[in-house]
Amino acid sequence: MSAGLMHAFVAVLRRDLLLALRRRGDSLNPLLFFVLAVTLFPLGIGPEPQRLAEVAPGVLWVAALLATLLSLDSLFRADHEDGALEQLMLMPQPLSVLVLAKILAHWLVSGLPLLLMSPLLGVVLHLPEASFGALFLGLALGTPVLSLVGAIGAALTVGLRRGGMLLSLLVLPLYVPVLIFGAGAVAQAGMGLSYAGQLAMLGALLALSLSLAPLACAAALRVTEN
Protein backbone atom coordinates (compact mmCIF):
# COMPACT_ATOMS: atom_id res chain seq x y z
CA MET A 1 0.00 0.00 0.00
CA SER A 2 1.51 3.31 -1.04
CA ALA A 3 1.89 6.13 1.47
CA GLY A 4 -0.88 8.23 -0.08
CA LEU A 5 -3.36 5.38 0.03
CA MET A 6 -2.47 4.56 3.63
CA HIS A 7 -2.87 8.21 4.51
CA ALA A 8 -6.30 8.41 2.91
CA PHE A 9 -7.35 5.17 4.63
CA VAL A 10 -6.36 6.52 8.04
CA ALA A 11 -7.99 9.88 7.33
CA VAL A 12 -11.34 8.30 6.44
CA LEU A 13 -11.11 6.01 9.47
CA ARG A 14 -10.33 8.93 11.78
CA ARG A 15 -13.11 11.03 10.34
CA ASP A 16 -15.73 8.31 10.82
CA LEU A 17 -14.59 7.52 14.35
CA LEU A 18 -14.64 11.21 15.23
CA LEU A 19 -18.16 11.55 13.83
CA ALA A 20 -19.26 8.52 15.84
CA LEU A 21 -17.73 10.05 18.96
CA ARG A 22 -19.61 13.29 18.37
CA ARG A 23 -22.89 11.40 17.96
CA ARG A 24 -22.40 9.16 20.95
CA GLY A 25 -26.12 8.51 21.43
CA ASP A 26 -26.59 7.11 17.94
CA SER A 27 -23.46 5.03 18.16
CA LEU A 28 -24.61 3.33 21.35
CA ASN A 29 -28.01 2.33 19.97
CA PRO A 30 -26.94 -1.04 18.49
CA LEU A 31 -25.37 -2.04 21.80
CA LEU A 32 -28.52 -1.06 23.71
CA PHE A 33 -30.61 -3.02 21.23
CA PHE A 34 -28.36 -6.05 21.70
CA VAL A 35 -28.77 -5.95 25.49
CA LEU A 36 -32.50 -5.31 25.29
CA ALA A 37 -33.18 -8.06 22.78
CA VAL A 38 -31.27 -10.59 24.89
CA THR A 39 -33.16 -9.45 28.00
CA LEU A 40 -36.47 -10.15 26.30
CA PHE A 41 -35.76 -13.85 25.85
CA PRO A 42 -35.80 -14.92 29.52
CA LEU A 43 -39.05 -12.95 29.86
CA GLY A 44 -40.49 -14.75 26.88
CA ILE A 45 -39.40 -18.32 27.48
CA GLY A 46 -39.11 -18.44 31.28
CA PRO A 47 -36.26 -18.03 33.75
CA GLU A 48 -35.15 -21.69 34.16
CA PRO A 49 -31.33 -21.66 33.93
CA GLN A 50 -31.14 -24.94 32.05
CA ARG A 51 -33.50 -23.89 29.29
CA LEU A 52 -31.78 -20.51 28.98
CA ALA A 53 -28.38 -22.16 28.71
CA GLU A 54 -29.73 -24.35 25.94
CA VAL A 55 -30.95 -21.47 23.76
CA ALA A 56 -28.23 -18.99 24.77
CA PRO A 57 -25.88 -19.56 21.76
CA GLY A 58 -28.67 -18.96 19.25
CA VAL A 59 -30.15 -16.05 21.17
CA LEU A 60 -26.84 -14.24 21.52
CA TRP A 61 -25.93 -14.70 17.88
CA VAL A 62 -29.34 -13.75 16.51
CA ALA A 63 -29.38 -10.66 18.71
CA ALA A 64 -25.88 -9.70 17.50
CA LEU A 65 -27.03 -10.23 13.90
CA LEU A 66 -30.07 -7.98 14.32
CA ALA A 67 -28.12 -5.33 16.22
CA THR A 68 -25.59 -5.15 13.37
CA LEU A 69 -28.42 -4.99 10.85
CA LEU A 70 -29.95 -2.01 12.68
CA SER A 71 -26.65 -0.15 12.65
CA LEU A 72 -26.06 -0.68 8.91
CA ASP A 73 -28.56 1.89 7.74
CA SER A 74 -26.42 4.70 9.14
CA LEU A 75 -23.24 3.44 7.45
CA PHE A 76 -23.59 5.54 4.29
CA ARG A 77 -26.81 7.50 4.86
CA ALA A 78 -25.41 10.64 6.50
CA ASP A 79 -22.56 10.80 4.01
CA HIS A 80 -25.02 10.38 1.17
CA GLU A 81 -27.22 13.18 2.44
CA ASP A 82 -24.50 15.76 2.98
CA GLY A 83 -22.60 14.86 -0.18
CA ALA A 84 -19.49 13.51 1.54
CA LEU A 85 -19.97 10.22 -0.26
CA GLU A 86 -19.63 11.90 -3.65
CA GLN A 87 -16.43 13.58 -2.52
CA LEU A 88 -15.16 10.19 -1.39
CA MET A 89 -15.87 8.78 -4.84
CA LEU A 90 -14.03 11.65 -6.51
CA MET A 91 -10.84 10.97 -4.58
CA PRO A 92 -7.94 9.57 -6.63
CA GLN A 93 -7.56 6.59 -4.27
CA PRO A 94 -9.53 3.41 -5.10
CA LEU A 95 -12.99 3.63 -3.61
CA SER A 96 -12.87 0.07 -2.28
CA VAL A 97 -10.01 0.91 0.09
CA LEU A 98 -11.81 4.00 1.39
CA VAL A 99 -14.98 1.97 1.81
CA LEU A 100 -12.98 -0.58 3.77
CA ALA A 101 -11.93 2.21 6.14
CA LYS A 102 -15.56 3.16 6.63
CA ILE A 103 -16.50 -0.46 7.29
CA LEU A 104 -13.66 -0.81 9.79
CA ALA A 105 -14.88 2.30 11.59
CA HIS A 106 -18.40 0.89 11.58
CA TRP A 107 -17.17 -2.35 13.11
CA LEU A 108 -15.14 -0.53 15.77
CA VAL A 109 -18.21 1.50 16.72
CA SER A 110 -20.95 -1.13 16.52
CA GLY A 111 -19.34 -4.59 16.34
CA LEU A 112 -16.61 -4.25 18.95
CA PRO A 113 -18.96 -3.10 21.77
CA LEU A 114 -21.19 -6.14 21.06
CA LEU A 115 -18.14 -8.36 21.31
CA LEU A 116 -17.09 -6.82 24.63
CA MET A 117 -20.61 -7.00 26.03
CA SER A 118 -21.24 -10.60 25.00
CA PRO A 119 -19.54 -12.38 27.97
CA LEU A 120 -21.73 -10.42 30.38
CA LEU A 121 -24.86 -11.44 28.50
CA GLY A 122 -23.55 -15.00 28.44
CA VAL A 123 -23.44 -14.92 32.24
CA VAL A 124 -26.99 -13.58 32.37
CA LEU A 125 -28.20 -16.43 30.15
CA HIS A 126 -26.35 -19.08 32.21
CA LEU A 127 -24.12 -20.02 29.32
CA PRO A 128 -21.87 -22.94 30.37
CA GLU A 129 -18.40 -21.79 31.33
CA ALA A 130 -16.76 -23.83 28.59
CA SER A 131 -18.66 -21.86 25.92
CA PHE A 132 -17.34 -18.40 26.68
CA GLY A 133 -14.17 -18.79 24.67
CA ALA A 134 -16.10 -19.99 21.64
CA LEU A 135 -18.60 -17.15 21.98
CA PHE A 136 -15.92 -14.49 22.21
CA LEU A 137 -13.69 -15.84 19.46
CA GLY A 138 -16.68 -16.57 17.22
CA LEU A 139 -18.01 -13.04 17.58
CA ALA A 140 -14.51 -11.62 17.07
CA LEU A 141 -14.29 -13.41 13.70
CA GLY A 142 -17.98 -13.18 12.82
CA THR A 143 -19.01 -9.57 13.53
CA PRO A 144 -16.51 -8.13 10.99
CA VAL A 145 -18.10 -10.43 8.38
CA LEU A 146 -21.50 -9.06 9.33
CA SER A 147 -20.24 -5.49 8.85
CA LEU A 148 -18.53 -6.30 5.55
CA VAL A 149 -21.43 -8.19 3.98
CA GLY A 150 -23.96 -5.76 5.41
CA ALA A 151 -22.09 -2.84 3.86
CA ILE A 152 -22.93 -4.20 0.38
CA GLY A 153 -26.62 -4.12 1.27
CA ALA A 154 -26.27 -0.65 2.78
CA ALA A 155 -24.53 0.58 -0.38
CA LEU A 156 -27.27 -0.85 -2.61
CA THR A 157 -30.08 0.81 -0.64
CA VAL A 158 -28.36 4.09 0.22
CA GLY A 159 -30.49 6.46 -1.84
CA LEU A 160 -33.84 4.80 -1.16
CA ARG A 161 -36.57 6.28 0.97
CA ARG A 162 -37.62 3.11 2.72
CA GLY A 163 -34.26 1.40 2.67
CA GLY A 164 -34.49 -0.11 6.16
CA MET A 165 -36.95 -2.92 5.53
CA LEU A 166 -35.42 -3.71 2.16
CA LEU A 167 -31.96 -3.83 3.74
CA SER A 168 -33.01 -6.63 6.08
CA LEU A 169 -34.42 -8.63 3.16
CA LEU A 170 -31.19 -8.21 1.22
CA VAL A 171 -28.75 -8.86 4.04
CA LEU A 172 -30.27 -11.41 6.42
CA PRO A 173 -30.18 -14.36 3.99
CA LEU A 174 -26.49 -13.66 3.45
CA TYR A 175 -25.90 -13.81 7.21
CA VAL A 176 -27.07 -17.42 7.45
CA PRO A 177 -23.62 -19.09 7.23
CA VAL A 178 -22.16 -16.77 9.90
CA LEU A 179 -25.07 -17.57 12.21
CA ILE A 180 -24.74 -21.31 11.66
CA PHE A 181 -21.02 -21.47 12.32
CA GLY A 182 -21.04 -18.88 15.12
CA ALA A 183 -23.88 -20.37 17.14
CA GLY A 184 -22.63 -23.86 16.23
CA ALA A 185 -19.23 -23.14 17.77
CA VAL A 186 -20.80 -21.97 21.04
CA ALA A 187 -23.08 -25.00 21.21
CA GLN A 188 -20.23 -27.42 20.44
CA ALA A 189 -18.07 -25.86 23.14
CA GLY A 190 -20.94 -26.18 25.62
CA MET A 191 -20.96 -29.93 25.03
CA GLY A 192 -17.23 -30.10 25.62
CA LEU A 193 -16.42 -30.75 21.96
CA SER A 194 -13.82 -29.09 19.80
CA TYR A 195 -15.06 -26.01 17.97
CA ALA A 196 -11.93 -25.38 15.90
CA GLY A 197 -13.75 -26.36 12.69
CA GLN A 198 -16.43 -23.72 13.10
CA LEU A 199 -13.88 -21.05 13.94
CA ALA A 200 -11.87 -22.03 10.87
CA MET A 201 -14.98 -21.64 8.73
CA LEU A 202 -15.68 -18.24 10.28
CA GLY A 203 -12.09 -17.27 9.56
CA ALA A 204 -12.50 -18.39 5.96
CA LEU A 205 -15.68 -16.35 5.64
CA LEU A 206 -13.83 -13.36 7.07
CA ALA A 207 -10.98 -13.75 4.58
CA LEU A 208 -13.43 -14.09 1.69
CA SER A 209 -15.58 -11.12 2.66
CA LEU A 210 -12.56 -8.99 3.52
CA SER A 211 -11.19 -9.47 0.00
CA LEU A 212 -14.43 -9.29 -2.01
CA ALA A 213 -16.95 -7.22 -0.04
CA PRO A 214 -15.14 -3.84 -0.37
CA LEU A 215 -15.00 -4.31 -4.15
CA ALA A 216 -18.70 -5.20 -4.36
CA CYS A 217 -19.51 -2.36 -2.00
CA ALA A 218 -17.59 0.19 -4.08
CA ALA A 219 -19.29 -1.06 -7.26
CA ALA A 220 -22.68 -0.78 -5.55
CA LEU A 221 -21.98 2.78 -4.46
CA ARG A 222 -20.98 3.73 -8.01
CA VAL A 223 -24.33 2.37 -9.22
CA THR A 224 -26.61 3.91 -6.62
CA GLU A 225 -24.76 7.18 -6.20
CA ASN A 226 -24.58 7.95 -9.94
Binding site: I152, L160, L174, V176, F181, V223, T224
Partner: protein
Protein backbone atom coordinates in the same frame (compact mmCIF):
# COMPACT_ATOMS: atom_id res chain seq x y z
CA UNK B 1 -19.91 -14.95 -34.69
CA UNK B 2 -19.51 -11.55 -33.01
CA UNK B 3 -21.99 -9.88 -35.30
CA UNK B 4 -24.53 -12.41 -34.08
CA UNK B 5 -24.01 -11.25 -30.49
CA UNK B 6 -24.19 -7.61 -31.48
CA UNK B 7 -27.41 -8.28 -33.31
CA UNK B 8 -28.77 -10.24 -30.37
CA UNK B 9 -28.09 -7.29 -28.12
CA UNK B 10 -30.42 -5.16 -30.24
CA UNK B 11 -33.90 -5.27 -28.71
CA UNK B 12 -35.64 -5.17 -32.11
CA UNK B 13 -33.69 -8.11 -33.45
CA UNK B 14 -34.22 -10.07 -30.24
CA UNK B 15 -37.93 -9.35 -30.35
CA UNK B 16 -38.24 -10.81 -33.84
CA UNK B 17 -35.97 -13.79 -33.22
CA UNK B 18 -37.71 -14.63 -29.94
CA UNK B 19 -41.05 -14.39 -31.68
CA UNK B 20 -39.93 -16.92 -34.27
CA UNK B 21 -38.45 -19.33 -31.72
CA UNK B 22 -41.25 -19.04 -29.20
CA UNK B 23 -43.74 -21.49 -30.77
CA UNK B 24 -41.08 -24.22 -31.03
CA UNK B 25 -40.15 -23.96 -27.36
CA UNK B 26 -43.83 -23.84 -26.42
CA UNK B 27 -44.62 -26.96 -28.47
CA UNK B 28 -41.58 -28.76 -27.04
CA UNK B 29 -42.57 -27.84 -23.49
CA UNK B 30 -46.17 -28.95 -23.99
CA UNK B 31 -45.11 -32.25 -25.57
CA UNK B 32 -42.53 -33.15 -22.96
CA UNK B 33 -44.90 -32.11 -20.18
CA UNK B 34 -47.60 -34.35 -21.59
CA UNK B 35 -45.28 -37.28 -22.20
CA UNK B 36 -43.26 -37.02 -18.98
CA UNK B 37 -46.28 -36.14 -16.88
CA UNK B 38 -48.45 -39.02 -18.03
CA UNK B 39 -45.54 -41.46 -17.93
CA UNK B 40 -44.47 -40.33 -14.48
CA UNK B 41 -47.88 -39.96 -12.86
CA UNK B 42 -49.65 -42.96 -14.41
CA UNK B 43 -47.23 -45.55 -15.80
CA UNK B 44 -43.97 -45.38 -13.84
CA UNK B 45 -43.79 -47.92 -11.00
CA UNK B 46 -44.55 -46.89 -7.41
CA UNK B 47 -41.60 -46.89 -5.04
CA UNK B 48 -41.17 -50.02 -2.91
CA UNK B 49 -40.99 -47.91 0.26
CA UNK B 50 -42.72 -44.68 -0.58
CA UNK B 51 -45.56 -46.07 -2.66
CA UNK B 52 -47.37 -43.69 -4.96
CA UNK B 53 -46.24 -40.59 -3.07
CA UNK B 54 -42.90 -40.92 -4.89
CA UNK B 55 -44.69 -39.40 -7.90
CA UNK B 56 -44.34 -35.97 -6.29
CA UNK B 57 -40.73 -36.35 -7.38
CA UNK B 58 -41.67 -35.66 -11.01
CA UNK B 59 -42.63 -32.12 -10.04
CA UNK B 60 -40.41 -31.57 -7.03
CA UNK B 61 -37.03 -32.53 -8.48
CA UNK B 62 -37.30 -30.53 -11.75
CA UNK B 63 -38.56 -27.48 -9.85
CA UNK B 64 -35.69 -27.73 -7.36
CA UNK B 65 -33.09 -28.15 -10.12
CA UNK B 66 -34.50 -25.19 -12.03
CA UNK B 67 -34.73 -23.01 -8.92
CA UNK B 68 -30.95 -23.17 -8.56
CA UNK B 69 -29.99 -23.03 -12.21
CA UNK B 70 -32.32 -20.10 -12.93
CA UNK B 71 -30.60 -18.16 -10.16
CA UNK B 72 -27.23 -18.89 -11.77
CA UNK B 73 -28.65 -17.94 -15.16
CA UNK B 74 -29.96 -14.70 -13.70
CA UNK B 75 -26.54 -13.88 -12.26
CA UNK B 76 -24.72 -14.72 -15.51
CA UNK B 77 -27.02 -12.52 -17.59
CA UNK B 78 -26.59 -9.79 -14.97
CA UNK B 79 -22.79 -10.05 -15.31
CA UNK B 80 -23.12 -9.82 -19.12
CA UNK B 81 -25.29 -6.75 -18.65
CA UNK B 82 -22.93 -5.14 -16.17
CA UNK B 83 -19.68 -5.85 -18.00
CA UNK B 84 -20.71 -5.20 -21.62
CA UNK B 85 -23.46 -2.74 -20.70
CA UNK B 86 -26.08 -4.63 -22.70
CA UNK B 87 -29.58 -3.51 -21.78
CA UNK B 88 -31.14 -6.65 -23.18
CA UNK B 89 -29.15 -8.87 -20.81
CA UNK B 90 -30.55 -6.89 -17.88
CA UNK B 91 -34.07 -7.35 -19.25
CA UNK B 92 -33.56 -11.11 -19.48
CA UNK B 93 -32.09 -11.18 -15.98
CA UNK B 94 -34.99 -9.15 -14.60
CA UNK B 95 -37.55 -11.48 -16.12
CA UNK B 96 -35.81 -14.67 -14.99
CA UNK B 97 -36.18 -13.67 -11.33
CA UNK B 98 -39.95 -14.10 -10.85
CA UNK B 99 -39.93 -17.38 -12.79
CA UNK B 100 -37.09 -18.68 -10.64
CA UNK B 101 -38.89 -17.59 -7.50
CA UNK B 102 -41.98 -19.46 -8.68
CA UNK B 103 -39.94 -22.64 -9.25
CA UNK B 104 -38.46 -22.25 -5.76
CA UNK B 105 -41.93 -21.86 -4.27
CA UNK B 106 -43.11 -24.97 -6.15
CA UNK B 107 -40.10 -26.93 -4.90
CA UNK B 108 -40.84 -25.82 -1.33
CA UNK B 109 -44.54 -26.60 -1.53
CA UNK B 110 -44.08 -30.03 -3.10
CA UNK B 111 -41.22 -30.75 -0.68
CA UNK B 112 -43.51 -29.99 2.20
CA UNK B 113 -46.28 -32.15 0.72
CA UNK B 114 -43.80 -34.96 0.19
CA UNK B 115 -42.45 -34.56 3.72
CA UNK B 116 -45.87 -35.17 5.26
CA UNK B 117 -46.13 -38.89 4.37
CA UNK B 118 -42.36 -39.52 4.45
CA UNK B 119 -41.12 -37.69 7.54
CA UNK B 120 -44.49 -37.24 9.26
CA UNK B 121 -44.41 -33.44 9.32
CA UNK B 122 -45.35 -30.65 6.95
CA UNK B 123 -42.17 -28.77 7.64
CA UNK B 124 -38.87 -30.16 8.73
CA UNK B 125 -35.76 -28.03 9.16
CA UNK B 126 -34.02 -30.25 6.70
CA UNK B 127 -30.93 -28.83 5.04
CA UNK B 128 -32.12 -28.74 1.45
CA UNK B 129 -35.60 -27.46 2.26
CA UNK B 130 -34.02 -24.76 4.39
CA UNK B 131 -31.59 -23.68 1.71
CA UNK B 132 -34.46 -23.60 -0.81
CA UNK B 133 -36.28 -21.28 1.60
CA UNK B 134 -33.24 -19.01 1.84
CA UNK B 135 -32.93 -19.11 -1.95
CA UNK B 136 -36.52 -17.87 -2.13
CA UNK B 137 -35.57 -14.93 0.10
CA UNK B 138 -32.59 -14.22 -2.17
CA UNK B 139 -34.94 -14.09 -5.17
CA UNK B 140 -37.31 -11.80 -3.25
CA UNK B 141 -34.38 -9.55 -2.37
CA UNK B 142 -33.35 -9.11 -6.01
CA UNK B 143 -36.95 -8.49 -7.07
CA UNK B 144 -37.65 -6.07 -4.21
CA UNK B 145 -34.49 -4.06 -4.86
CA UNK B 146 -35.38 -3.74 -8.53
CA UNK B 147 -38.88 -2.57 -7.65
CA UNK B 148 -37.66 -0.10 -5.05
CA UNK B 149 -35.47 1.87 -7.48
CA UNK B 150 -37.43 4.07 -9.86
CA UNK B 151 -34.74 4.76 -12.41
CA UNK B 152 -34.47 1.77 -14.72
CA UNK B 153 -30.76 1.68 -15.49
CA UNK B 154 -29.88 2.09 -11.80
CA UNK B 155 -32.38 -0.61 -10.87
CA UNK B 156 -30.87 -2.93 -13.50
CA UNK B 157 -27.33 -2.48 -12.26
CA UNK B 158 -28.16 -2.62 -8.54
CA UNK B 159 -30.31 -5.75 -8.86
CA UNK B 160 -27.69 -7.31 -11.13
CA UNK B 161 -24.96 -6.64 -8.60
CA UNK B 162 -27.08 -8.17 -5.84
CA UNK B 163 -27.67 -11.25 -7.99
CA UNK B 164 -23.90 -11.61 -8.42
CA UNK B 165 -23.31 -11.24 -4.67
CA UNK B 166 -26.06 -13.79 -4.12
CA UNK B 167 -24.60 -16.30 -6.52
CA UNK B 168 -21.26 -16.19 -4.69
CA UNK B 169 -23.16 -16.86 -1.48
CA UNK B 170 -25.51 -19.59 -2.71
CA UNK B 171 -22.93 -22.41 -2.45
CA UNK B 172 -21.68 -21.11 0.92
CA UNK B 173 -25.22 -21.00 2.28
CA UNK B 174 -26.04 -24.37 0.75
CA UNK B 175 -23.07 -26.18 2.27
CA UNK B 176 -23.29 -24.45 5.65
CA UNK B 177 -26.94 -25.45 5.93
CA UNK B 178 -26.13 -28.96 4.70
CA UNK B 179 -23.49 -29.26 7.37
CA UNK B 180 -25.92 -27.88 9.97
CA UNK B 181 -28.61 -30.49 9.51
CA UNK B 182 -29.41 -33.06 6.91
CA UNK B 183 -32.13 -35.64 6.63
CA UNK B 184 -32.89 -35.32 2.95
CA UNK B 185 -32.45 -38.35 0.78
CA UNK B 186 -29.31 -38.18 -1.31
CA UNK B 187 -29.55 -37.05 -4.88
CA UNK B 188 -30.11 -39.87 -7.33
CA UNK B 189 -28.84 -38.11 -10.45
CA UNK B 190 -25.94 -35.89 -9.50
CA UNK B 191 -23.69 -36.08 -12.51
CA UNK B 192 -23.39 -37.48 -15.99
CA UNK B 193 -21.61 -40.52 -14.60
CA UNK B 194 -24.57 -41.17 -12.35
CA UNK B 195 -26.95 -40.80 -15.26
CA UNK B 196 -25.07 -43.57 -17.04
CA UNK B 197 -25.37 -45.75 -13.93
CA UNK B 198 -28.03 -44.07 -11.82
CA UNK B 199 -29.24 -44.91 -8.31
CA UNK B 200 -32.76 -44.79 -9.67
CA UNK B 201 -34.49 -47.32 -11.90
CA UNK B 202 -34.79 -46.48 -15.61
CA UNK B 203 -38.61 -46.64 -15.44
CA UNK B 204 -38.48 -43.70 -13.05
CA UNK B 205 -35.42 -42.01 -14.51
CA UNK B 206 -36.79 -41.48 -18.02
CA UNK B 207 -40.02 -39.73 -17.03
CA UNK B 208 -38.00 -37.67 -14.55
CA UNK B 209 -35.51 -36.56 -17.21
CA UNK B 210 -38.42 -35.77 -19.52
CA UNK B 211 -40.01 -33.64 -16.83
CA UNK B 212 -36.71 -31.81 -16.25
CA UNK B 213 -36.56 -31.11 -19.99
CA UNK B 214 -40.18 -29.97 -19.89
CA UNK B 215 -39.48 -27.55 -17.04
CA UNK B 216 -36.47 -26.15 -18.87
CA UNK B 217 -38.39 -25.63 -22.11
CA UNK B 218 -41.23 -24.10 -20.12
CA UNK B 219 -38.77 -21.72 -18.49
CA UNK B 220 -37.38 -20.63 -21.86
CA UNK B 221 -40.90 -20.18 -23.26
CA UNK B 222 -42.11 -18.03 -20.39
CA UNK B 223 -38.82 -16.12 -20.27
CA UNK B 224 -39.03 -15.25 -23.99
CA UNK B 225 -42.66 -14.17 -23.62
CA UNK B 226 -41.93 -11.97 -20.62
CA UNK B 227 -38.81 -10.46 -22.15
CA UNK B 228 -40.65 -9.67 -25.39
CA UNK B 229 -43.20 -7.76 -23.36
CA UNK B 230 -40.50 -5.92 -21.50
CA UNK B 231 -38.73 -5.03 -24.76
CA UNK B 232 -41.95 -3.51 -26.08
CA UNK B 233 -42.51 -1.65 -22.84
CA UNK B 234 -39.01 -0.19 -22.64
CA UNK B 235 -38.80 0.61 -26.35
CA UNK B 236 -42.29 1.98 -26.61
CA UNK B 237 -41.03 5.36 -27.74
CA UNK B 238 -38.90 3.97 -30.53
CA UNK B 239 -39.92 3.99 -34.18
CA UNK B 240 -40.01 0.24 -34.74
CA UNK B 241 -42.46 -0.37 -31.90
CA UNK B 242 -44.67 2.35 -33.28
CA UNK B 243 -44.62 0.70 -36.71
CA UNK B 244 -45.35 -2.67 -35.13
CA UNK B 245 -48.35 -1.26 -33.35
CA UNK B 246 -49.66 0.34 -36.52
CA UNK B 247 -49.46 -2.85 -38.54
CA UNK B 248 -51.48 -4.71 -35.93
CA UNK B 249 -55.01 -3.46 -35.44
CA UNK B 250 -56.49 -3.39 -32.02
CA UNK B 251 -53.25 -3.84 -30.15
Amino acid sequence: MWSFFYKLASPKWFYELAGKLLPWFAIGAAMSFALGGIWGLAFSPPDYQQGDSVRIMYIHVPAAILSLSVYTFMAITAIIGLVWKIKLAHMVSANAAPIGAAFTAIALATGSLWGRPMWGTWWEWDARLTSELILLFLYFGVMALRNAIDERTTADKAAGLLAVVGVVNVPIIHYSVEWWNTLHQGSSITSLARIAKPAIHADMLWPLLLMILAFKLFFVTVLLMRTRNEVLDRERRSAWVGELLETRDGV
